[in-house]
Symmetry: C2
Subunit: 305 residues, 2 copies
């Protein structure tokens, strides 16, 4: 691999940033990676585990002299963080981010960026239900998509370098328009997460089925929901609030379908149910064929402990 940037600054040191650090080092994509996190405790942890070549105590110090600055903070604070670092960005620097929503991030970040600084928003579609500086690992992005969302007037060379960085970290990349990105993610990620959170909340609330029963018997299907409903609460709050329109639209469609299935159950319409359930199997096959999951039976991953 060739070095793409002399110095990369990671602002925020959670799952994504920490995985980026290990992935950049694995492939030798930058000469130096500096990091900053707002919490003193997180900075301390990062120093302990050797996360980043250098940890700075301020965001301004971290971005000074950086050729690429990646905002790895919750979507809701992207604008405030940009306002803080803007004066310290050197001309010609590229600013990128890893937010799960793009239209709102672009609106929040763009006004603060000085002339001569390139903005190339990005979104790696990878994650686990773990968060924090200790949760990262170099393989997180391998064979996962990273969507590159150029803004109006994005510099082509700056875009290509961000693409190369992600490819170097193991990702497949694709360019996408911000509005389309937000709609695709509402379907494939945001609404599924909201539904998983809801289902887990329902189970937690019930009186006639105990919590311990829900936990003990979770392997019957419920378990798969708890995995995604254990993701970082702050990140997800910001995602829903900043991708409101697309989320509410897809939720509306979801409710419509759910009511149709509910009526089929109430009216004993077995044919409707059977047809619906048969149709959904095809999508699963497509995902396995596309290499985004395996067909290995999943029964608690007892074998991979």
């Amino acid at each position: 691999m060739t070095v793409i940037y002399n110095r990369v600054a990671l602002i925020g040191l959670g799952l994504i940033a920490s995985s980026m650090y290990w992935a950049i080092k694995r492939a030798g994509l930058a000469n130096e990676v500096v990091g900053f996190a707002r919490s003193e405790e997180t900075r301390q942890t990062a120093r302990e585990i050797g996360l980043c070549d250098r940890i700075c105590d301020t965001a301004v110090a971290a971005v000074a002299g950086a050729d690429l600055v990646v905002l790895c903070v919750p979507v809701g604070v992207m604008g405030a963080v940009t306002a803080e670092i803007a004066p310290a960005l050197k001309p010609g620097t590229t600013v990128s981010d890893v937010g799960s929503v793009k239209r709102e991030v672009i609106s929040a970040v763009t006004p603060y960026l000085p002339k001569g600084v390139h903005f190339v928003p990005a979104h790696p579609l990878a994650g686990t239900e773990h968060s924090g500086p200790r949760s990262g690992f170099a393989e997180l992005f391998d064979n996962r998509w990273c969507l590159i969302v150029p803004v109006e007037g994005s510099d082509e060379t700056a875009c290509e370098n961000v693409e190369k960085l992600w490819q170097g970290m193991g990702s497949l990349t694709e360019r996408m328009d911000a509005d389309h990105h937000d709609r695709v993610l509402a379907v494939t990620s945001h609404v599924p997460h909201l539904i998983a959170y809801t289902m887990v909340g329902v189970a937690d609330d019930l009186r006639r089925v105990t919590d311990s029963e829900v936990v003990k018997y979770s392997a019957a299907g419920f378990r798969d929901f708890t995995r995604i409903a254990a993701s970082d609460p702050t990140m997800w709050r910001d995602v829903f609030l900043s991708n409101k329109d697309a989320t509410l639209e897809i939720l509306g469609r979801f409710t419509e379908e759910l009511f149709a299935l509910q009526r089929a159950i109430r009216t004993d319409d077995g044919a409707h149910l059977h047809d619906y359930f048969t149709r959904t199997r095809a999508i699963r096959r497509g995902i396995i064929e596309a290499g985004q999951d395996t067909s290995a039976p999943d029964f608690g991953r007892g074998g991979s402990k």
Copy 2:
């Protein structure tokens, strides 16, 4: 292990029955296991892969002389199958089943059972999204719960032997009343499956996001839904129709919660969202502590291919 039954008959040869065969053999729990499937093709496959010591061409032949008969057919045909085999059951035989719903199965099966035959309903909480005679494997039930649901007047020795069989196949067992079983399963399995089916159906239906995009970018959360929405359509149609009351009740609760979250998104109530998402993390921890999943990061199980 000791032999618990001289002859076991498995009626229906899908994922559960085929796994039972391999698990019974692994532990030497029966001297002979005979099998029957309604489809000629399934019987042929079973013979090819050595599933069961003997495959019979009729259900009546399969149950003749059996000490334990296990109904491994969809819930909707349990009654009809019992009517067919009833005359051939020898006195003292135990009949069990593996249906995901218990109240309706008990109502459907009991009227046909001759005096002197013991009925011990059971439900192993284990499965994968695969189905058919080739999908079984001996480890499916290891460390998974099997709920034993005695009916009024169930013979205690018959119950204990069914428990021993499941324990011998690797399961943990617990006794439960039929109505409570159906409610617990509505929460932990039936409604989660219905919701997963719905979400996958919504994605499949959208016009502005293409199918190929849904498939490509599924690792962002959607993938976990497709896994459980790929389960056997006939089985699930029957589950929903036969556990109608509990399913509709839990669905009602789910919709109520979903609408509350939807309103929080619409009204920018970040505190409500954050509180809700924080609460659901605790349940996830409980499941990991109970040994029903691992805390290993799941990123497409790329490592276990």
